[in-house]
């Protein structure tokens, strides 16, 4: 009975949460001043492509994390379900769906439920502005290979990551538990601190890529610039690249910045009290955030879908689009591997070290990076 009840309550919730994500993307795509010529069916196709790929990537990532960690720690890892343990994520999902839906006494039900949804939605929605390819010219139509081709794309990323904090903070607060609360608070502080560096090092990219001159914050413009010049921004702004990556790690609560969920201190941090699919959503959100973060980094610093030996003449038509998408996916996967690798390599920072790093090192350095970018743009370097 409990199992059924759980299913009955959890499934619609998860369903609505997941449905909200493409809706958000559609909304973004539809709002002015974006190009209104894109018909709804095209947008929907794009939404579900991106959503599908992301949602496929997440379980793969979970598996990869476990396998990679096992490999790094010289053990085997999950290898029972499916060939080479490839169906393990599915098994996990089933387990989560059927676990008991626990809700501690005295928590505000709506916020408690909404918190993981916020986390997941924000992470997934970020993908809406990430271009996964160039412009596809087909049937007399030029289709930008991005869900929401809005000229404030970068800002949308930042805005969504800002909102994403709420998921964790509220989850911590609503759990009515001191460990959760502490986790949530740590998360707030951490995100506020690192969001500054994130934003400022991102500004550097926009400066060197000439976005301020055109007045558009499209990620595709950044990629276009890197593609036409043939030089990735990571070379132009090595410092900015490093800073942005570190900040992205912090934003996704990954080691070495996983203080909000530091197990030895806070049991499970903000999701101590969560179970079943609510926990699953947090889980999903975290990995989706990893995917989104990697994608953004790839777009901003690593050339996006651009590959040095694939000229624009080659990448035309359907094959070209697929080629670009593959390149992009490869880069993202490589970076995700880096994410996982770092997690199992570095120790966790202490809280005061975290703050010192954020405010005393990252912030000044990101300002320095901005200065460097300004000089870069003003003096017309490569």
């Amino acid at each position: 009975m409990t199992m059924l009840a759980t299913l009955l309550t959890a499934t619609p919730l998860v369903a609505t949460s997941l449905a909200a994500t493409p809706l958000g993307g559609a909304l973004l795509a539809a709002t002015p001043p974006s190009d209104a010529t894109a018909p709804l069916w095209l947008t929907l196709i794009k939404v579900f492509t991106v959503f599908g790929i992301t949602m496929t990537l997440v379980p793969m990532l979970v598996l990869a994390e476990r396998r990679v960690s096992a490999w790094m720690q010289y053990r085997v890892g999950p290898n029972r379900v499916g060939p080479g343990g490839s169906l393990q994520p599915l098994a996990d999902l089933v387990k989560m769906l059927f676990k008991e839906e626990l809700r501690p006494d005295g928590v505000p039900p709506f916020i408690f439920t909404a918190a993981p949804a916020i986390a997941a939605i924000c992470a997934l929605s970020m993908m809406a502005v990430v271009p996964f390819g160039g412009t596809l010219e087909v049937g007399g139509r030029s289709i930008p290979m991005v869900v929401a081709d809005t000229d404030i794309g970068v800002l949308v990323v930042l805005a969504l990551s800002s909102i994403g904090v709420y998921g964790i903070t509220l989850g911590g607060w609503a759990s009515n538990s001191k460990y959760s609360l502490l986790g949530g608070l740590r998360s707030s502080a951490q995100m506020i601190s690192y969001e500054l560096s994130l934003g400022i090092s991102l500004l550097g990219v926009l400066v060197v890529s000439g976005n301020f001159e055109s007045g558009s914050f499209r990620l595709s413009d950044v990629i276009e610039y890197q593609a036409t010049t043939g030089i990735w921004n990571a070379l132009r702004l090595p410092l900015g690249f490093v800073l942005f990556t570190i900040a992205a790690f912090a934003e996704t609560n990954r080691l070495p910045f996983d203080l909000p969920e530091a197990e030895p201190e806070l049991v499970g941090g903000y999701h101590t009290e969560y179970s079943s699919m609510r926990f699953g959503l947090f889980f999903l959100g975290e990995y989706a955030a990893m995917v989104a973060g990697s994608s953004v980094i790839v777009c901003l610093f690593l050339g996006g879908w651009h590959c040095p030996w694939l000229t624009t003449e080659v990448t035309v038509g359907w094959t070209g689009a697929l080629l670009q998408m593959s390149v992009f996916l490869a880069k993202v996967l490589a970076f995700l591997f880096f994410f996982i690798h770092v997690r199992w390599t570095l120790p966790r920072l202490r809280y005061d070290q975290l703050m010192t790093l954020g405010w005393k090192w990252m912030l000044p350095l990101s300002l320095l990076n901005l200065l460097w970018a300004g000089a870069h743009a003003a003096l017309g370097w490569f």
């Binding site: 809005t150 805005a159 007045g215 914050f217």
Partner: protein, 172 residues
């Protein structure tokens, strides 16, 4: 697919319902969350007005930074939320005055024929894209810009000073 009018109605409903709940919720955390909702609604209204940049900034700064700060403080204070609701004379009178203001402000708008008429936008005017706004900020509004940055600096110094925990030897 999603007409501007629909978007307007949806977003203003979000904004207003959020605001109404801010005012009426007893629990300050709930009020804060409703405020986030209201902010998001206003951000949506900015989008429908063609000010996407501002919408994004609204979400980033207001809904992100400011509200997180709010929540942070609220959580830090860990308030036991009980608010007495005895309505004093001043508060009752203020309520009435607020309604009067509302009426006074809203009525002329609602009655204004020009404002109700469908607008004819001037397409030659520079749109609210980041480049144009930046041009304005660094030319026409350079002085206010500097003043505001100074204000922010002062506020930062003041806030740090105020919020700093007094050192042991300073405390009374």
């Amino acid at each position: 697919m999603l007409s501007e009018r629909t978007a307007f109605l949806v977003f203003s409903a979000i904004a207003l319902i959020g605001a109404a709940n801010v005012v009426t919720r007893k629990n300050p955390v709930h009020a804060a969350l409703w405020l986030v909702g209201s902010f998001l609604g206003v951000a949506g209204l900015f989008l429908t007005l063609g000010a996407g940049l501002l919408g994004a900034i609204q979400v980033m700064v207001y809904a992100g930074a400011i509200m997180v700060l709010f929540l942070f403080v609220i959580l830090l204070l860990n308030l036991d939320v009980t608010e007495g609701d005895g309505l004093s004379f001043a508060r009752g009178a203020s309520f009435l005055a607020a309604i009067a203001t509302l009426a006074l402000v809203a009525l002329p708008f609602a009655q204004s024929r020009e404002l109700r008429a469908a607008a004819t936008p001037d397409h030659a005017a520079p749109d609210a894209s980041a480049g144009n706004v930046a041009d304005l900020l660094f030319t026409r509004y350079a002085l206010p810009f500097e003043v505001v940055s100074l204000l922010l600096l002062i506020a930062m110094v003041g806030a740090i000073h105020l919020a700093r925990r007094p050192r042991r030897d300073e405390s009374v």
